[in-house]
Subunit: 168 residues, 4 copies
Amino acid sequence: MIFFSDAVIAIMLTLLAVELPVPEVHDPMDLLEGLAAHGSQYIAFLISFFVIAATWTAHHMLFVHVSRTDPPLITLNLLALFGYVLIPWASKTLGEVPNGAGVVVYAAAMTYVGGSMLLVLRHVVRSGLLDPTAPLGVIMGIRAWSAMTTIMFALSVPAGFVFGRWTL
Amino acid sequence: MIFFSDAVIAIMLTLLAVELPVPEVHDPMDLLEGLAAHGSQYIAFLISFFVIAATWTAHHMLFVHVSRTDPPLITLNLLALFGYVLIPWASKTLGEVPNGAGVVVYAAAMTYVGGSMLLVLRHVVRSGLLDPTAPLGVIMGIRAWSAMTTIMFALSVPAGFVFGRWTL
Amino acid sequence: MIFFSDAVIAIMLTLLAVELPVPEVHDPMDLLEGLAAHGSQYIAFLISFFVIAATWTAHHMLFVHVSRTDPPLITLNLLALFGYVLIPWASKTLGEVPNGAGVVVYAAAMTYVGGSMLLVLRHVVRSGLLDPTAPLGVIMGIRAWSAMTTIMFALSVPAGFVFGRWTL
Amino acid sequence: MIFFSDAVIAIMLTLLAVELPVPEVHDPMDLLEGLAAHGSQYIAFLISFFVIAATWTAHHMLFVHVSRTDPPLITLNLLALFGYVLIPWASKTLGEVPNGAGVVVYAAAMTYVGGSMLLVLRHVVRSGLLDPTAPLGVIMGIRAWSAMTTIMFALSVPAGFVFGRWTL
């Protein structure tokens, strides 16, 4: 299950970068301006890459201490993967749909991914799937990181609505 | 073989989501209408993702109990993978070809995938490749799930013909 | 090395199917005609998928008996992978470039892949990287299969030239 | 971590080839001219494939001797992967943006990848993550190769600026 999820996330992160727009530049001295014209998409890619890479790394550290799986864990994991595979589409929507609607779609997808990872973490802890020797500090660090990024993206959903209405 | 198949299906599921259409929205308040305009494609993606993810998870549970492989199993597995790699193309056809012809192509591909997984299961059971301690309930649950989804998609093939003719 | 190569070939085979053209059909009853209009591309995909899948499966059977790797084997493997990653591009060229030039590109790429696999096989046998208990029949079967497909594609290169000139 | 990185690089190399332009040829005898028209892109792909494949193979040889990981190594690895996933986008920019600006973007991305691999190597050696029995010759060979390719691409960044200005 870890292997299958790893493959899905590796593909997703690679496709995310393939979708980036090519800058239109005629003189190398104008390169920074050409890149700045697509700045919001490059920054969104940067955020997506490092937030997802960090979240996934954290969950790898968690799964080292998971001694067995059960059917609800498999279901929760599939629900999380469903969110992950939507990220390239959500990023494309962010880049192509202005007026805050793209922000809403992107932030909703990232919130879904973060929330589903919190559910995986909660299930693993509550159902006793964790190795008794798992370091509590690491588990709590992972939970804090996942909760923080999820809340941040959840707050971006209404922000997208407000920002979109305000600029119309 | 399991690893190679895992990689193929992980890539296929991720590409499936990359092909999704970006909604055209000008005001965040119209987002639901914008998404509803491509509703049939989003629902088809939802069905594809969860049916294939569940089928594949089921076969993972089966392969835990497969103690050895033989040449016919490798051949059947390649025939199944041939169907899996066609799913993104079949989904694109479903989205772009109206009047039921897209439904016929998509349902035929999903029927092929389901049917080939049933052949894999039948071969594994009949040729004694299963571990004698494999739980019979799990095997029968996998067969019931595979048979049910295969029959459902097989029935959608003639339904696509009828629906297509009727709307012309 | 086997894992990395597996991943490259799994991705390549999946991308091959994603590039397939969507048939243009208005009535489900015309589906076969719609598919036949792109028939040569569907048949090329069918050939590519099964030839590559069979060749790769054969080499998996070989590598089970390879007890160690050496630098030339790694180099030969990278040269083979270079050919494999070109297959989706060669298939697109086959579909888009008429008059035999597409056939020449596609057949040359498949000849390269087949030839590089024969070099891998020759090096493995000659440099004593094989387990002494490796079954000779399997090794010779793999060599016969690789040689046959390589020769078949090699002969298609001049055939493409002749066919292209003849139809002009 | 090795597995996840392997998957990212395998996907990236395969996507690199998918993005290659299809030659426009009407007569098989004109094939070489048709290919030469996109020559710079084919050569860039050739360089990217073999430089990245060789660098990655070298680091595999290194990681065989890494006996444990630590958080800085995971961070450095993610920073390196960030560069790798940008290569297909940088290659597309190289092909589509003339006047040296494309060269600057491509060479900068390759310099970033090479530099981040040197940082990984330095951390592994300095923090004692290496197995004490690791062969020093191999480690120094990997460092020399990584340093050489990084310097070569770093020198191409100003060369792109000069070349671009000169041809305007």
